[in-house]
Symmetry: D2
Subunit: 343 residues, 4 copies
């Protein structure tokens, strides 16, 4: 950690500051520039709070040299983490994982029908929301527990593992038999939820918040891992910018950057990113080209009647065409898609 000291400090003040850090066990390195003195701290600075240090009148600025996330960092875990979900190996660089299904579970007929469609097209995981975060209290809030049961029925009918969103730790016990727990963008910094979900033991897919930096995203991953969970999948799903021609702005640079910074699988949700069905296939292919480990995509048997997010859902027929295209794109990156891998 590098501290830029304030202008005009007395020599005695500087010495007192140096002593303070040495007493706390750090080695120090002081140098004088033309305009500022600089104090380097050597030791475990992860326990120092940058804001607290900046509050000291003698300190002008604080620069952290090493990443504040340890468990998530590739520095200390160079190999890829592969999250194995009933044989689906998310994060395996030889595979491209497609998770597909409707925004919301609406009925047994609907979810089983979509599940069969997406399986036939090659998807490996079924997605579907039972608890739905909605901006308005007057919008459909999801089927809740009944929706979870229908997801399990669809799993039984197709063999596809299921992913669905958890919105409150009060619901955690209902997720005992869910294969992947999704934590949504709006809850990315719901730290109590992260702690409890992290301690629950199931694989977790964490979505990037609408305006979260990559560093904040990795700190939220760190919450999950610090609670004992090594099976975290990170999902880029679009960020909020000044423009609104798409619902959010898909930030594909996040894919290679996250893969460099962390050992965890990185997937992309093009449906929520743009919110426009006809654009989803283009962005899904771009995600594969950017090196993503997979995608999370909305498919609905009748998008125009969907209870939520219909505008961004693909029909099963369009999805099947996309899967054919994606196979070719994934192949260019040395990845296969569409089959369960049983190693």
């Amino acid at each position: 950690m590098v501290l830029v000291l304030s202008n005009g400090l007395q020599e005695t003040e500087i010495k007192a500051l140096v002593s303070r850090f040495e007493d706390e066990g750090f080695r120090t390195n002081l140098s004088y520039g033309a305009e500022a003195a600089i104090l380097g701290l050597i030791g475990d600075t992860s326990r120092l709070n940058e804001d607290t240090l900046r509050a000291l009148p003698c300190i002008e600025n604080v620069i952290r040299v090493s990443a504040p996330y340890k468990l998530a960092s590739r520095t200390f875990h160079p190999e890829n983490t592969i999250v194995d979900v009933n044989g689906v190996r998310v994060g395996d660089s030889r595979h491209f994982t497609v998770m597909a299904g409707p925004c919301s579970v609406e009925s047994e007929e609907q979810i089983i029908s979509v599940a069969k469609d997406v399986k036939r097209a090659g998807a490996q995981v079924l997605r579907g929301g039972a608890f739905k975060p909605r901006t308005s209290p007057y919008s459909f809030q999801g089927m809740g527990q009944a929706g979870l049961e229908l997801l399990k029925a669809a799993r039984k009918a197709t063999g596809l593992p299921v992913i669905t969103e958890l919105m409150s730790s009060n619901q955690l016990e209902l997720f005992e038999d869910i294969d992947i727990i999704q934590i949504g963008a709006r809850n990315m910094q719901n730290f109590d939820l992260l702690k409890e979900a992290g301690g629950f033991g199931k694989p977790i897919l964490l979505k990037r918040g609408l305006s979260s930096t990559i560093k904040e995203l990795l700190m939220s991953v760190e919450y999950l891992m610090a609670a004992g969970n090594a099976n975290v999948i990170i999902c880029e799903r679009g960020i909020r910018t000044f423009d609104s021609y798409t619902r959010n702005c898909l930030d594909l640079s996040a894919v290679p950057y996250l893969q460099k910074e962390t050992h965890l699988p990185v997937v992309v949700d093009p449906s929520h990113a743009c919110g426009i069905a006809w654009m989803v296939p283009r962005l899904a292919k771009a995600a594969a080209a950017a090196g993503a480990d997979g995608i999370l995509v909305e498919v609905h048997n009748n998008p125009a009647c969907a209870l939520c997010d219909g505008e961004q859902s693909l029909t099963p027929a369009v999805f099947a065409g996309l899967m054919r295209d994606l196979a070719a794109y994934a192949a260019l990156e040395g990845r296969t898609l569409g089959e369960r891998c049983l190693h």
Copy 2:
């Protein structure tokens, strides 16, 4: 609600669409422009979902004419709502309410000392965090339940009502004896928390999310009100932009705009907005000039040693000076500050 229809529709398709809405009980009004046909819907459109409509291939765009928040809207409740907290009347246009105290409760000595200081200077509510949302799992997470007890001790010592942050509905029962429940920026769209806190019956201060639009903020207020709570205070605390010279960007336009749109009290948190202690008094005065109903401000007896957010805390002496300045500013808006109002 106004629907812009897609180009190139057949007359029969348009008629089918019109019939569909009339069957659902809406009156309709169809007109043909040079480049698009436009369909007006008259009736209770709050139950229609804009995204679902946009997903229909025959609809190009959807424009909502009336606000989707009903309980929060000033249209249906023209008079100011005054939230009465043990005699402190937040939202009364004759008063300017100052809530002050440390970011975190650290010890009995600390919180009682600060409480006495801020009371002496004229603050009407004591703030202090017991449960703290922190970006890093390795940072101090607050004293928890013990911190709540210390807040109550400080209330007993000074008579000041207390406000503190709720992070999870699991902690709700601990807040029975807290005067104002704060819901933080990161939880503004934690909808489960909003529902449960809204049903709890205590006054609530809701902070705007880091990148929440004013409309989203009002929809989250609507969650609280739809759960039965009429005593909601809205807090502007800075938003995230492309620049980082301050921690966030205080959006003071939100104050007059919210006061026009809603009947609820609107306060400002200059401390979290800028994150820089020397700038807080300037922004606090600007908030008063912008017409805010009050401020929430961090005061610490020893900012340089604070366990969190020290950089943005005022010393009691600086705070006392600010209160003198604020009295003059508030007076220009016809408001008094610093005394409990007992009508």
Copy 3:
């Protein structure tokens, strides 16, 4: 155009407003909703100013139904425009155009060496800056006119047409013999420059501004076209967001969206978007997968010594590898790259 009228208007006020628009030659359509009256205007509304209308106390909101850009819109020009640059057909859906070269022209040896390298690897256009927009007045501002001469020398040596940035209309006469004029992101709304460059007759590549909406970008294209220029290439080069882990955020959704809205070629500049050399190939491939008509990419023979933007430049060897990969990606979209097309 749809006008939402203010609440509480008298019938006579509404009639006066309707008459005013009918006197100006518009047909009108008035309807009454539950909460607002709505007035549709039919006719050439492109001459109406939305802000002026909103300033009328009787008008609450104004909604423009048709796009304000006419020449750029695909509605009135359904076929792709192909910009032919000495036989290089930018925007031809059977080709993927690669423009490559250094950020700045530094010397004859450098530019000819890079030009030969990128030609050998298959690039079709040579890029290189002679006039450089730099944030600091103390940074290298480019070689100016001498740089333009060196670009022409490199063109003579390789046959590659050249693209370079114009920063001021005072320099326009120097660009007589340049093949494509680039207008940079910081000048996207330098309207005087747009007018003069648009009237000059050369093909123009217009970069999206750092925080320009797609609509603003298309309006700036409209400036060029209204000045008589039909040969405009649009370039997405990254936008500014709240995060800074990359220099800018590449907004790939802009590619399919622009191609739907306009008939002009759309290319991507991954180098300026991310500002990080190792990430450029990933984003270049993603751009091809998103359907772009080409890329603009920085290549430098010695990036570590580059006078500007070295951090984001590829070495010729890395560029040659990227071109091999891109050929496979472009082929999946039915495009070839790397050869001059002479139809």
Copy 4:
């Protein structure tokens, strides 16, 4: 300047790097942390380019300790600069300067009428646009040279000095007799314009770009000053964010921050910031409370018929009321307004 070196460097590589900087005349200071080696450079680092250094494979990160703007920095010029415009002392901490007038000059009658109105209310400078930057090529582009003549006629009629916008250096000679040259937000990084306007010798008001950081704003000020101009007024006029309930987001924190970083006058344009007339007085008062040296505000005799930006203009009557309020606010900051100061 502090360089964080890459992990895993050989001792010989580090030594070579140190030698390189010492050969260039810097003193160096090398220290080894737990995770990175850090190299401090002491000397005139303003000639080093951060991006070029980052491109070196041996350098991980570069941290600039001192500000890259020298002429604008308060460090080297502690006293306030007062820009004297025909006796109006902008930046004098005893005065608050109000510049008022219409968005566009429309006719002699209009501009003289408004000039008299704003003078009567206490404004000290007349504003009015002759050359207008408009998003659409089909919108009114201003009266041009004829508008400049009308401004001078209004000056003659009232004695008020005038400020108006320069959009191109080609028009510079027409501005010989203009009192303050305004450079607009969209041209803040039109570096050629900055150089030429900076060398012209007239006082300049520079508006912050829509998405310019404070640092970039100060670097553009530095362009003007490096070209020889010491009389620069900086104007905060709202920035672009994710929300659009106001046209832009007024960033009032910029006022105290700029006043700390620079010695130049800082004024605020509340009209363009919010774009909503009824909100302008609130924000003008907040600007005074934030410590601004003045405001730039739109006043129009008939806002509903204004040729541009009518929505944000005040009527002369509302403006006169605002001036009475502002006098009280300015007095709290020890400032007077409304009279020409002749020291």
